[in-house]
Protein backbone atom coordinates (compact mmCIF):
# COMPACT_ATOMS: atom_id res chain seq x y z
CA UNK A 1 0.00 0.00 0.00
CA UNK A 2 1.73 3.11 -1.23
CA UNK A 3 0.10 6.24 0.07
CA UNK A 4 -0.17 9.75 -1.16
CA UNK A 5 2.23 12.55 -0.55
CA UNK A 6 1.47 15.13 2.12
CA UNK A 7 2.33 18.63 1.06
CA UNK A 8 2.03 21.74 3.22
CA UNK A 9 2.73 24.86 1.26
CA UNK A 10 3.20 28.23 2.94
CA UNK A 11 0.77 27.49 5.75
CA UNK A 12 0.11 30.21 8.31
CA UNK A 13 -2.27 30.15 11.24
CA UNK A 14 -3.02 33.22 13.28
CA UNK A 15 -4.91 33.02 16.59
CA UNK A 16 -5.86 36.47 17.88
CA UNK A 17 -2.74 38.00 16.40
CA UNK A 18 -0.50 35.14 17.54
CA UNK A 19 1.22 33.38 14.65
CA UNK A 20 1.11 29.68 15.57
CA UNK A 21 2.37 28.71 12.12
CA UNK A 22 4.38 31.06 9.98
CA UNK A 23 4.66 30.21 6.30
CA UNK A 24 5.35 26.55 7.05
CA UNK A 25 6.20 24.25 4.15
CA UNK A 26 6.74 20.55 4.51
CA UNK A 27 6.65 17.46 2.32
CA UNK A 28 6.21 13.93 3.62
CA UNK A 29 6.74 11.28 0.97
CA UNK A 30 4.70 8.05 0.88
CA UNK A 31 6.16 5.46 3.24
CA UNK A 32 8.38 7.95 4.99
CA UNK A 33 8.88 8.04 8.76
CA UNK A 34 9.41 11.62 9.81
CA UNK A 35 10.13 12.94 13.25
CA UNK A 36 9.19 16.50 14.09
CA UNK A 37 10.78 18.18 17.08
CA UNK A 38 10.79 21.68 18.40
CA UNK A 39 10.50 23.65 21.61
CA UNK A 40 7.14 24.32 23.26
CA UNK A 41 4.96 26.60 21.17
CA UNK A 42 6.84 25.78 17.96
CA UNK A 43 3.52 24.90 16.29
CA UNK A 44 3.82 21.11 16.27
CA UNK A 45 0.33 20.40 17.52
CA UNK A 46 -1.17 23.21 15.43
CA UNK A 47 0.40 21.59 12.39
CA UNK A 48 -1.37 18.31 13.25
CA UNK A 49 -4.63 20.22 13.75
CA UNK A 50 -4.29 21.74 10.29
CA UNK A 51 -3.66 18.40 8.61
CA UNK A 52 -6.60 16.70 10.34
CA UNK A 53 -9.06 19.53 9.75
CA UNK A 54 -9.45 20.59 13.35
CA UNK A 55 -8.09 24.05 12.59
CA UNK A 56 -8.30 25.97 9.34
CA UNK A 57 -5.18 27.75 8.05
CA UNK A 58 -5.24 31.52 7.67
CA UNK A 59 -3.11 31.18 4.53
CA UNK A 60 -1.47 28.43 2.50
CA UNK A 61 -2.54 25.05 1.15
CA UNK A 62 -2.44 21.51 2.48
CA UNK A 63 -2.78 18.68 -0.01
CA UNK A 64 -2.77 14.94 0.44
CA UNK A 65 -2.31 13.35 -2.95
CA UNK A 66 -4.74 15.32 -5.06
CA UNK A 67 -7.09 16.34 -2.25
CA UNK A 68 -7.14 19.78 -0.66
CA UNK A 69 -7.45 19.05 3.06
CA UNK A 70 -8.29 22.62 4.07
CA UNK A 71 -11.82 22.21 2.72
CA UNK A 72 -12.70 18.91 4.40
CA UNK A 73 -14.00 18.08 7.88
CA UNK A 74 -12.36 15.73 10.40
CA UNK A 75 -14.39 12.65 9.55
CA UNK A 76 -13.81 13.00 5.81
CA UNK A 77 -10.08 13.50 6.32
CA UNK A 78 -9.95 10.46 8.58
CA UNK A 79 -11.71 8.42 5.91
CA UNK A 80 -9.19 9.64 3.30
CA UNK A 81 -6.61 7.66 5.20
CA UNK A 82 -5.11 10.11 7.67
CA UNK A 83 -5.11 8.81 11.21
CA UNK A 84 -4.13 10.79 14.26
CA UNK A 85 -2.92 9.80 17.67
CA UNK A 86 -3.35 12.51 20.22
CA UNK A 87 -0.87 13.64 22.79
CA UNK A 88 -3.16 12.51 25.57
CA UNK A 89 -4.23 8.99 24.74
CA UNK A 90 -7.97 8.86 24.18
CA UNK A 91 -9.28 5.38 24.05
CA UNK A 92 -12.82 4.44 24.96
CA UNK A 93 -12.69 3.45 28.61
CA UNK A 94 -16.11 1.85 28.74
CA UNK A 95 -15.24 -0.56 25.94
CA UNK A 96 -12.86 -3.50 25.89
CA UNK A 97 -9.54 -3.41 24.06
CA UNK A 98 -11.05 -5.61 21.38
CA UNK A 99 -14.10 -3.37 21.02
CA UNK A 100 -11.89 -0.29 20.75
CA UNK A 101 -10.09 -1.84 17.80
CA UNK A 102 -13.36 -3.05 16.31
CA UNK A 103 -14.71 0.51 16.30
CA UNK A 104 -11.58 1.73 14.55
CA UNK A 105 -11.58 -1.08 11.98
CA UNK A 106 -12.08 0.21 8.47
CA UNK A 107 -15.75 -0.50 7.70
CA UNK A 108 -18.80 1.53 6.67
CA UNK A 109 -19.30 4.23 9.29
CA UNK A 110 -22.97 5.16 8.90
CA UNK A 111 -25.41 4.33 11.72
CA UNK A 112 -27.38 1.78 9.74
CA UNK A 113 -24.28 -0.23 8.78
CA UNK A 114 -23.11 -0.08 12.38
CA UNK A 115 -26.45 -1.42 13.57
CA UNK A 116 -26.26 -4.37 11.19
CA UNK A 117 -22.54 -4.98 11.65
CA UNK A 118 -21.54 -8.58 12.24
CA UNK A 119 -17.96 -9.35 13.17
CA UNK A 120 -16.75 -11.66 10.38
CA UNK A 121 -13.78 -14.03 10.28
CA UNK A 122 -11.67 -11.63 8.27
CA UNK A 123 -12.37 -8.70 10.57
CA UNK A 124 -11.61 -10.82 13.62
CA UNK A 125 -8.30 -11.90 12.09
CA UNK A 126 -7.33 -8.31 11.38
CA UNK A 127 -8.14 -7.28 14.93
CA UNK A 128 -6.22 -10.23 16.37
CA UNK A 129 -3.24 -9.45 14.17
CA UNK A 130 -3.22 -5.88 15.44
CA UNK A 131 -3.58 -7.08 19.03
CA UNK A 132 -0.42 -9.12 18.49
CA UNK A 133 1.34 -6.22 16.83
CA UNK A 134 0.70 -3.84 19.70
CA UNK A 135 1.33 -6.52 22.32
CA UNK A 136 -2.13 -6.45 23.88
CA UNK A 137 -3.43 -9.86 22.83
CA UNK A 138 -3.69 -10.94 26.46
CA UNK A 139 -5.75 -7.90 27.35
CA UNK A 140 -8.29 -8.16 24.52
CA UNK A 141 -11.31 -8.59 26.80
CA UNK A 142 -10.25 -6.08 29.44
CA UNK A 143 -11.83 -2.68 29.57
CA UNK A 144 -9.54 0.03 28.26
CA UNK A 145 -10.06 1.91 31.54
CA UNK A 146 -7.78 -0.49 33.40
CA UNK A 147 -4.83 -0.36 30.98
CA UNK A 148 -1.55 1.27 31.98
CA UNK A 149 -0.47 4.52 30.36
CA UNK A 150 1.86 2.78 27.92
CA UNK A 151 -0.74 0.19 26.99
CA UNK A 152 -3.26 2.93 26.28
CA UNK A 153 -0.79 4.56 23.90
CA UNK A 154 -0.29 1.26 22.08
CA UNK A 155 -4.01 0.66 21.94
CA UNK A 156 -4.42 4.03 20.36
CA UNK A 157 -1.71 3.26 17.81
CA UNK A 158 -3.48 -0.03 17.20
CA UNK A 159 -6.73 1.85 16.58
CA UNK A 160 -4.91 3.96 14.03
CA UNK A 161 -3.65 0.84 12.31
CA UNK A 162 -7.17 -0.60 12.14
CA UNK A 163 -8.19 2.41 10.07
CA UNK A 164 -5.61 1.29 7.50
CA UNK A 165 -4.38 4.84 7.12
CA UNK A 166 -1.90 5.95 4.48
CA UNK A 167 -0.59 8.59 6.80
CA UNK A 168 -0.27 8.37 10.56
CA UNK A 169 0.17 11.41 12.72
CA UNK A 170 1.51 10.52 16.12
CA UNK A 171 1.69 13.20 18.78
CA UNK A 172 4.19 12.60 21.61
CA UNK A 173 3.81 8.84 21.75
CA UNK A 174 6.34 8.24 24.50
CA UNK A 175 5.53 11.06 26.92
CA UNK A 176 5.35 9.51 30.37
CA UNK A 177 6.58 6.11 29.24
CA UNK A 178 9.25 3.97 30.88
CA UNK A 179 12.45 3.32 28.92
CA UNK A 180 11.33 -0.15 28.05
CA UNK A 181 7.96 1.09 26.83
CA UNK A 182 9.70 3.80 24.81
CA UNK A 183 11.85 1.21 23.09
CA UNK A 184 8.83 -0.97 22.33
CA UNK A 185 7.05 2.06 20.85
CA UNK A 186 9.99 3.01 18.63
CA UNK A 187 10.08 -0.54 17.27
CA UNK A 188 6.35 -0.46 16.68
CA UNK A 189 6.49 2.80 14.73
CA UNK A 190 9.47 1.63 12.67
CA UNK A 191 7.57 -1.51 11.68
CA UNK A 192 4.52 0.53 10.76
CA UNK A 193 6.39 2.97 8.52
CA UNK A 194 7.38 1.75 5.09
CA UNK A 195 3.92 0.58 4.18
CA UNK A 196 2.55 3.97 5.20
CA UNK A 197 3.87 7.40 6.06
CA UNK A 198 4.28 8.21 9.71
CA UNK A 199 4.80 11.65 11.20
CA UNK A 200 5.91 11.62 14.81
CA UNK A 201 5.94 14.73 16.95
CA UNK A 202 8.19 14.26 19.95
CA UNK A 203 10.17 16.08 22.61
CA UNK A 204 12.32 13.13 23.55
CA UNK A 205 15.51 13.32 21.47
CA UNK A 206 16.67 9.85 22.50
CA UNK A 207 13.45 8.46 21.12
CA UNK A 208 13.90 10.39 17.89
CA UNK A 209 17.41 8.99 17.64
CA UNK A 210 16.01 5.49 18.16
CA UNK A 211 13.66 6.03 15.21
CA UNK A 212 16.75 6.80 13.11
CA UNK A 213 14.97 8.72 10.36
CA UNK A 214 14.77 12.20 8.90
CA UNK A 215 14.07 14.93 11.43
CA UNK A 216 12.40 18.30 10.98
CA UNK A 217 12.95 20.97 13.61
CA UNK A 218 10.15 23.48 13.98
CA UNK A 219 10.57 26.81 15.69
CA UNK A 220 8.10 29.67 15.94
CA UNK A 221 5.83 28.09 13.39
CA UNK A 222 8.37 27.50 10.64
CA UNK A 223 10.99 24.91 9.66
CA UNK A 224 14.30 25.71 11.32
CA UNK A 225 16.34 22.74 10.18
CA UNK A 226 15.88 19.41 8.47
CA UNK A 227 18.05 16.32 8.06
CA UNK A 228 19.40 13.40 10.04
CA UNK A 229 19.40 13.56 13.82
CA UNK A 230 23.15 14.16 13.88
CA UNK A 231 22.81 16.91 11.31
CA UNK A 232 20.15 18.81 13.22
CA UNK A 233 21.79 18.29 16.59
CA UNK A 234 24.90 19.95 15.24
CA UNK A 235 23.05 22.76 13.55
CA UNK A 236 24.02 25.94 15.41
CA UNK A 237 20.54 27.44 15.02
CA UNK A 238 18.98 24.35 16.63
CA UNK A 239 21.52 24.44 19.44
CA UNK A 240 20.67 28.06 20.04
CA UNK A 241 16.93 27.43 20.16
CA UNK A 242 17.26 24.45 22.46
CA UNK A 243 20.04 25.67 24.70
CA UNK A 244 20.36 29.38 24.06
CA UNK A 245 17.52 30.59 26.27
Amino acid sequence: MKGARLYLDGVSVVFDGFRALNNLSLIVEPGELRAIIGPNGAGKTTMMDIITGKTRPTAGTVTFGERDLTKLDEATIANLGIGRKFQKPTVFDALTVFENLELALKAPRDPWSCLRWVLGQEARKKIEATLEEIGLAERAQDRAAILSHGQRQWLEIGMLLMQEPQLLLVDEPVAGMTDQETEHTAGLLRRIAGTRSVVVVEHDLEFVRALGEKVTVLCEGAVLSEGSIDHVQNDPRVIEVYLGR
Binding site: T52, E74, A75, A78, N79, G83, R84, F86, T90, V91, F92, D93, A94, L95, E99, E102, L103, A104, R109, D110, P111, C114, L115, R116, W117, Q141, R143, A145, I146, M159, Q163
Partner: protein, 366 residues
Protein backbone atom coordinates in the same frame (compact mmCIF):
# COMPACT_ATOMS: atom_id res chain seq x y z
CA UNK B 1 -16.38 -12.56 28.00
CA UNK B 2 -17.63 -10.76 31.03
CA UNK B 3 -21.36 -10.90 31.52
CA UNK B 4 -22.73 -7.77 29.99
CA UNK B 5 -26.27 -6.61 29.96
CA UNK B 6 -25.24 -3.46 28.19
CA UNK B 7 -22.26 -1.50 27.03
CA UNK B 8 -23.17 1.35 29.29
CA UNK B 9 -22.44 -0.52 32.48
CA UNK B 10 -20.78 -3.84 32.95
CA UNK B 11 -22.19 -6.12 35.59
CA UNK B 12 -20.76 -8.83 37.74
CA UNK B 13 -21.16 -12.27 36.22
CA UNK B 14 -24.47 -13.56 37.51
CA UNK B 15 -25.87 -10.09 38.05
CA UNK B 16 -27.09 -9.99 34.50
CA UNK B 17 -29.05 -13.18 35.14
CA UNK B 18 -30.47 -11.75 38.36
CA UNK B 19 -31.53 -8.61 36.55
CA UNK B 20 -33.10 -10.51 33.73
CA UNK B 21 -34.98 -12.56 36.33
CA UNK B 22 -36.26 -9.46 38.13
CA UNK B 23 -37.25 -7.93 34.83
CA UNK B 24 -39.20 -10.96 33.66
CA UNK B 25 -40.86 -11.37 37.05
CA UNK B 26 -41.84 -7.72 37.03
CA UNK B 27 -43.30 -7.92 33.54
CA UNK B 28 -45.15 -11.14 34.46
CA UNK B 29 -46.68 -9.53 37.56
CA UNK B 30 -47.74 -6.55 35.47
CA UNK B 31 -49.30 -8.84 32.88
CA UNK B 32 -51.37 -10.50 35.65
CA UNK B 33 -52.89 -7.25 36.97
CA UNK B 34 -55.84 -6.89 34.57
CA UNK B 35 -56.64 -10.59 35.12
CA UNK B 36 -56.64 -10.19 38.90
CA UNK B 37 -58.85 -7.14 38.40
CA UNK B 38 -61.55 -9.53 37.16
CA UNK B 39 -61.63 -11.47 40.41
CA UNK B 40 -64.46 -10.77 42.86
CA UNK B 41 -63.51 -7.78 45.07
CA UNK B 42 -63.56 -9.91 48.23
CA UNK B 43 -60.81 -12.18 46.86
CA UNK B 44 -57.39 -11.80 48.48
CA UNK B 45 -55.73 -11.39 45.10
CA UNK B 46 -58.20 -8.80 43.81
CA UNK B 47 -56.60 -5.79 42.23
CA UNK B 48 -58.60 -2.57 42.04
CA UNK B 49 -59.30 -0.51 38.90
CA UNK B 50 -57.09 2.16 40.40
CA UNK B 51 -54.07 -0.13 40.54
CA UNK B 52 -54.61 -1.24 36.95
CA UNK B 53 -54.91 2.28 35.60
CA UNK B 54 -51.99 3.58 37.67
CA UNK B 55 -49.72 0.74 36.56
CA UNK B 56 -50.81 1.29 32.97
CA UNK B 57 -49.68 4.88 33.33
CA UNK B 58 -46.34 3.74 34.78
CA UNK B 59 -45.80 1.41 31.84
CA UNK B 60 -46.07 4.44 29.55
CA UNK B 61 -43.65 6.29 31.79
CA UNK B 62 -41.27 3.33 31.60
CA UNK B 63 -41.24 3.60 27.80
CA UNK B 64 -40.43 7.30 28.15
CA UNK B 65 -37.64 6.39 30.58
CA UNK B 66 -36.24 3.88 28.07
CA UNK B 67 -36.22 6.59 25.43
CA UNK B 68 -34.31 8.91 27.75
CA UNK B 69 -31.85 6.20 28.73
CA UNK B 70 -31.11 5.46 25.09
CA UNK B 71 -30.22 9.09 24.41
CA UNK B 72 -28.65 9.97 27.75
CA UNK B 73 -27.28 6.72 29.15
CA UNK B 74 -25.71 5.60 25.89
CA UNK B 75 -25.15 8.61 23.65
CA UNK B 76 -24.70 11.16 26.45
CA UNK B 77 -27.44 13.41 25.12
CA UNK B 78 -29.09 14.73 28.27
CA UNK B 79 -32.44 15.96 27.01
CA UNK B 80 -34.51 17.88 29.51
CA UNK B 81 -37.30 18.15 26.99
CA UNK B 82 -38.37 14.59 26.38
CA UNK B 83 -41.69 15.38 28.01
CA UNK B 84 -42.43 17.45 24.90
CA UNK B 85 -42.04 14.43 22.60
CA UNK B 86 -44.22 12.42 24.99
CA UNK B 87 -46.88 15.14 25.05
CA UNK B 88 -46.84 15.54 21.25
CA UNK B 89 -47.45 11.81 20.88
CA UNK B 90 -50.26 12.13 23.41
CA UNK B 91 -51.80 15.08 21.58
CA UNK B 92 -51.70 13.27 18.22
CA UNK B 93 -53.78 10.39 19.59
CA UNK B 94 -55.83 12.87 21.60
CA UNK B 95 -56.81 14.61 18.36
CA UNK B 96 -57.98 11.31 16.94
CA UNK B 97 -59.96 10.59 20.11
CA UNK B 98 -61.55 14.05 19.89
CA UNK B 99 -62.62 13.39 16.31
CA UNK B 100 -64.07 10.06 17.40
CA UNK B 101 -66.42 11.79 19.84
CA UNK B 102 -68.39 12.87 16.79
CA UNK B 103 -71.82 14.30 17.54
CA UNK B 104 -71.74 13.00 21.14
CA UNK B 105 -70.17 16.25 22.38
CA UNK B 106 -72.02 18.71 24.60
CA UNK B 107 -72.75 20.95 21.59
CA UNK B 108 -73.54 17.98 19.39
CA UNK B 109 -71.60 19.32 16.41
CA UNK B 110 -71.03 16.49 13.92
CA UNK B 111 -67.42 17.39 13.13
CA UNK B 112 -66.00 20.01 15.44
CA UNK B 113 -64.91 19.15 18.99
CA UNK B 114 -66.70 21.08 21.74
CA UNK B 115 -63.89 23.53 22.39
CA UNK B 116 -63.87 24.60 18.74
CA UNK B 117 -67.62 25.21 18.76
CA UNK B 118 -67.19 27.19 21.96
CA UNK B 119 -64.41 29.26 20.40
CA UNK B 120 -66.54 29.96 17.34
CA UNK B 121 -64.73 27.82 14.76
CA UNK B 122 -66.82 27.10 11.69
CA UNK B 123 -64.60 24.50 10.11
CA UNK B 124 -61.82 22.14 11.09
CA UNK B 125 -58.35 23.81 11.01
CA UNK B 126 -55.92 22.22 8.53
CA UNK B 127 -53.77 20.97 11.42
CA UNK B 128 -56.58 18.55 12.22
CA UNK B 129 -56.95 17.10 8.74
CA UNK B 130 -56.52 13.39 8.59
CA UNK B 131 -56.79 12.77 12.32
CA UNK B 132 -60.11 11.00 11.96
CA UNK B 133 -57.98 8.11 10.69
CA UNK B 134 -56.34 6.13 13.48
CA UNK B 135 -53.37 4.94 11.40
CA UNK B 136 -52.66 8.53 10.41
CA UNK B 137 -52.94 9.81 14.00
CA UNK B 138 -50.74 6.99 15.25
CA UNK B 139 -48.15 7.69 12.57
CA UNK B 140 -48.21 11.38 13.52
CA UNK B 141 -47.63 10.44 17.18
CA UNK B 142 -44.24 9.10 16.02
CA UNK B 143 -43.48 11.38 13.08
CA UNK B 144 -44.11 14.74 14.75
CA UNK B 145 -41.80 14.10 17.75
CA UNK B 146 -39.28 12.55 15.36
CA UNK B 147 -39.31 15.59 13.09
CA UNK B 148 -39.03 18.03 15.97
CA UNK B 149 -36.10 16.07 17.41
CA UNK B 150 -34.58 15.93 13.94
CA UNK B 151 -34.68 19.70 13.48
CA UNK B 152 -33.62 20.65 17.02
CA UNK B 153 -31.00 17.90 17.09
CA UNK B 154 -29.58 18.74 13.69
CA UNK B 155 -29.15 22.40 14.53
CA UNK B 156 -27.65 21.66 17.96
CA UNK B 157 -25.38 18.76 17.02
CA UNK B 158 -24.14 20.44 13.86
CA UNK B 159 -23.07 23.45 15.92
CA UNK B 160 -21.47 21.01 18.37
CA UNK B 161 -23.71 22.07 21.23
CA UNK B 162 -23.37 19.46 23.93
CA UNK B 163 -23.75 18.95 27.65
CA UNK B 164 -25.59 21.48 29.72
CA UNK B 165 -26.17 23.82 26.77
CA UNK B 166 -28.04 21.14 24.92
CA UNK B 167 -30.05 20.39 28.05
CA UNK B 168 -31.04 24.04 28.32
CA UNK B 169 -32.10 24.16 24.67
CA UNK B 170 -34.32 21.10 25.08
CA UNK B 171 -35.75 22.54 28.26
CA UNK B 172 -36.54 25.78 26.43
CA UNK B 173 -38.12 23.74 23.64
CA UNK B 174 -40.62 22.04 25.94
CA UNK B 175 -41.34 25.31 27.75
CA UNK B 176 -42.02 27.11 24.47
CA UNK B 177 -44.35 24.31 23.38
CA UNK B 178 -46.14 24.46 26.71
CA UNK B 179 -46.80 28.18 26.28
CA UNK B 180 -47.93 27.60 22.70
CA UNK B 181 -50.31 24.77 23.63
CA UNK B 182 -51.81 26.87 26.42
CA UNK B 183 -53.02 29.34 23.81
CA UNK B 184 -56.58 28.82 22.63
CA UNK B 185 -55.85 30.05 19.11
CA UNK B 186 -53.39 27.20 18.52
CA UNK B 187 -56.50 25.10 17.96
CA UNK B 188 -55.48 22.35 20.38
CA UNK B 189 -57.92 23.01 23.19
CA UNK B 190 -55.74 25.53 25.05
CA UNK B 191 -55.59 25.25 28.77
CA UNK B 192 -58.04 22.36 29.01
CA UNK B 193 -56.44 20.17 26.40
CA UNK B 194 -58.51 17.17 25.36
CA UNK B 195 -60.69 14.94 27.47
CA UNK B 196 -64.10 13.28 27.59
CA UNK B 197 -63.03 10.70 25.01
CA UNK B 198 -65.69 8.21 23.94
CA UNK B 199 -64.15 5.48 21.86
CA UNK B 200 -61.02 4.18 20.20
CA UNK B 201 -61.13 1.87 17.18
CA UNK B 202 -64.83 1.32 17.78
CA UNK B 203 -64.23 0.25 21.38
CA UNK B 204 -65.92 2.33 24.08
CA UNK B 205 -63.36 3.65 26.53
CA UNK B 206 -63.95 3.79 30.28
CA UNK B 207 -64.86 0.15 30.60
CA UNK B 208 -62.58 -2.22 32.45
CA UNK B 209 -62.28 -4.32 29.30
CA UNK B 210 -60.99 -1.33 27.33
CA UNK B 211 -58.66 -0.45 30.15
CA UNK B 212 -57.24 -3.97 30.13
CA UNK B 213 -56.72 -3.87 26.37
CA UNK B 214 -54.96 -0.51 26.52
CA UNK B 215 -52.90 -1.80 29.41
CA UNK B 216 -51.75 -4.81 27.38
CA UNK B 217 -51.07 -2.62 24.35
CA UNK B 218 -48.78 -0.51 26.53
CA UNK B 219 -47.12 -3.58 28.05
CA UNK B 220 -46.45 -5.07 24.62
CA UNK B 221 -45.08 -1.74 23.45
CA UNK B 222 -42.81 -1.65 26.49
CA UNK B 223 -41.51 -5.14 25.72
CA UNK B 224 -41.00 -4.22 22.09
CA UNK B 225 -39.22 -0.99 22.99
CA UNK B 226 -36.98 -2.86 25.41
CA UNK B 227 -36.05 -5.44 22.77
CA UNK B 228 -35.41 -2.72 20.20
CA UNK B 229 -33.18 -0.76 22.58
CA UNK B 230 -31.36 -3.90 23.67
CA UNK B 231 -30.72 -4.87 20.08
CA UNK B 232 -29.47 -1.40 19.23
CA UNK B 233 -27.23 -0.98 22.25
CA UNK B 234 -25.64 -4.40 21.80
CA UNK B 235 -24.82 -3.73 18.18
CA UNK B 236 -21.70 -1.92 17.07
CA UNK B 237 -23.89 1.18 16.84
CA UNK B 238 -24.40 0.89 20.60
CA UNK B 239 -20.66 0.87 21.13
CA UNK B 240 -20.30 3.87 18.83
CA UNK B 241 -22.87 5.67 21.00
CA UNK B 242 -20.93 4.90 24.17
CA UNK B 243 -17.77 6.12 22.44
CA UNK B 244 -19.52 9.33 21.40
CA UNK B 245 -20.72 9.80 24.97
CA UNK B 246 -17.22 9.43 26.41
CA UNK B 247 -15.01 11.06 23.76
CA UNK B 248 -16.95 12.49 20.85
CA UNK B 249 -14.06 14.22 19.10
CA UNK B 250 -12.05 10.99 19.13
CA UNK B 251 -14.93 9.25 17.38
CA UNK B 252 -14.92 11.99 14.76
CA UNK B 253 -11.24 11.39 14.14
CA UNK B 254 -12.01 7.71 13.63
CA UNK B 255 -14.08 8.83 10.66
CA UNK B 256 -17.58 8.55 12.11
CA UNK B 257 -20.06 11.30 11.35
CA UNK B 258 -21.06 11.89 14.96
CA UNK B 259 -23.78 14.37 14.02
CA UNK B 260 -25.53 11.62 12.08
CA UNK B 261 -25.00 9.07 14.82
CA UNK B 262 -26.41 11.37 17.51
CA UNK B 263 -29.24 12.52 15.31
CA UNK B 264 -30.26 8.93 14.61
CA UNK B 265 -30.47 8.02 18.26
CA UNK B 266 -32.09 11.31 19.29
CA UNK B 267 -34.83 10.99 16.67
CA UNK B 268 -35.41 7.35 17.57
CA UNK B 269 -35.57 8.28 21.23
CA UNK B 270 -38.09 11.07 20.52
CA UNK B 271 -40.25 8.65 18.55
CA UNK B 272 -40.23 6.21 21.45
CA UNK B 273 -41.27 9.03 23.75
CA UNK B 274 -44.05 9.87 21.28
CA UNK B 275 -45.18 6.24 21.36
CA UNK B 276 -45.30 6.38 25.15
CA UNK B 277 -47.46 9.51 24.99
CA UNK B 278 -49.74 7.93 22.39
CA UNK B 279 -50.42 5.01 24.73
CA UNK B 280 -50.79 7.31 27.72
CA UNK B 281 -53.61 9.56 26.49
CA UNK B 282 -56.29 6.88 25.99
CA UNK B 283 -55.25 5.18 29.25
CA UNK B 284 -55.60 8.26 31.45
CA UNK B 285 -58.36 9.83 29.37
CA UNK B 286 -56.90 13.32 29.28
CA UNK B 287 -54.05 15.28 27.73
CA UNK B 288 -53.35 18.93 28.44
CA UNK B 289 -50.49 21.42 28.09
CA UNK B 290 -49.33 20.58 31.61
CA UNK B 291 -47.64 17.54 30.06
CA UNK B 292 -45.19 19.93 28.39
CA UNK B 293 -44.16 21.47 31.67
CA UNK B 294 -40.37 21.47 32.14
CA UNK B 295 -40.77 19.73 35.49
CA UNK B 296 -42.19 16.63 33.81
CA UNK B 297 -39.13 16.22 31.62
CA UNK B 298 -36.80 16.67 34.56
CA UNK B 299 -38.77 14.17 36.60
CA UNK B 300 -38.40 11.62 33.81
CA UNK B 301 -34.64 12.15 33.82
CA UNK B 302 -34.63 11.56 37.57
CA UNK B 303 -36.33 8.18 37.05
CA UNK B 304 -33.47 7.12 34.79
CA UNK B 305 -30.83 8.47 37.16
CA UNK B 306 -32.39 6.65 40.10
CA UNK B 307 -32.76 3.37 38.21
CA UNK B 308 -29.27 3.54 36.73
CA UNK B 309 -28.53 5.00 33.34
CA UNK B 310 -26.94 3.14 30.51
CA UNK B 311 -28.57 -0.14 31.50
CA UNK B 312 -32.08 0.00 29.97
CA UNK B 313 -33.39 -2.16 32.82
CA UNK B 314 -32.48 0.69 35.16
CA UNK B 315 -34.83 2.98 33.26
CA UNK B 316 -37.72 0.62 33.98
CA UNK B 317 -36.71 0.12 37.60
CA UNK B 318 -36.44 3.89 38.07
CA UNK B 319 -39.72 4.73 36.35
CA UNK B 320 -41.65 2.23 38.46
CA UNK B 321 -39.95 2.86 41.79
CA UNK B 322 -39.94 6.66 41.67
CA UNK B 323 -43.56 6.73 40.54
CA UNK B 324 -44.50 4.27 43.27
CA UNK B 325 -42.96 6.61 45.83
CA UNK B 326 -44.72 9.55 44.23
CA UNK B 327 -48.13 7.90 44.24
CA UNK B 328 -47.69 6.76 47.84
CA UNK B 329 -46.38 10.11 49.05
CA UNK B 330 -48.85 12.34 47.22
CA UNK B 331 -51.71 10.37 48.75
CA UNK B 332 -51.01 11.99 52.12
CA UNK B 333 -48.43 14.77 51.65
CA UNK B 334 -48.60 16.11 48.09
CA UNK B 335 -46.67 19.26 48.99
CA UNK B 336 -43.64 17.24 49.95
CA UNK B 337 -43.22 15.56 46.58
CA UNK B 338 -41.00 18.12 44.85
CA UNK B 339 -38.67 18.23 47.85
CA UNK B 340 -38.44 14.45 47.91
CA UNK B 341 -37.83 14.36 44.15
CA UNK B 342 -35.05 16.91 44.42
CA UNK B 343 -33.59 15.16 47.45
CA UNK B 344 -33.73 11.84 45.65
CA UNK B 345 -31.82 13.26 42.71
CA UNK B 346 -29.14 14.77 44.92
CA UNK B 347 -28.83 11.59 46.96
CA UNK B 348 -28.57 9.34 43.92
CA UNK B 349 -26.00 11.61 42.30
CA UNK B 350 -23.87 11.68 45.42
CA UNK B 351 -24.23 8.18 46.81
CA UNK B 352 -25.45 6.02 43.98
CA UNK B 353 -24.11 7.49 40.74
CA UNK B 354 -24.91 4.30 38.86
CA UNK B 355 -28.40 4.10 40.27
CA UNK B 356 -30.18 1.11 41.77
CA UNK B 357 -29.07 -1.26 39.04
CA UNK B 358 -25.51 0.01 39.55
CA UNK B 359 -25.53 -1.79 42.90
CA UNK B 360 -24.97 -4.93 40.86
CA UNK B 361 -22.11 -3.29 39.05
CA UNK B 362 -18.71 -4.83 38.66
CA UNK B 363 -16.38 -3.01 41.03
CA UNK B 364 -13.62 -2.04 38.67
CA UNK B 365 -13.24 1.54 39.69
CA UNK B 366 -14.54 3.26 36.60
Amino acid sequence: MSATISMGQRLRPGSATILRGILLAGLAILAMLPVLNRLPPESALYVSDFVVSVSGKWICYAILALAIDLAWGYAGILSLGHGAFFALGGYAIGMHLMRMIGPRGVYGHPVLPDFMVFLGYTELPWTWWGFSSFPFAFAMALVVPGLLAGVVGYLAFRSRITGVYLSIITQAMTYALMLAFFRNDMGFGGNNGFTDFKELLGMPLNTSGARALLFYAALIALGGALLLCAHLTRSKLGRVLVAVRDAESRVRFLGYDTVRVKLTVFVLSAMLAGLAGALYTPLVGIINPGEFSPGNSIEAVVWVAVGGRGTLVGALVGAFSVNAIKTWLTSFAPDLWLFVLGGLFVAVTLFLPRGIVGLLHKGDGK
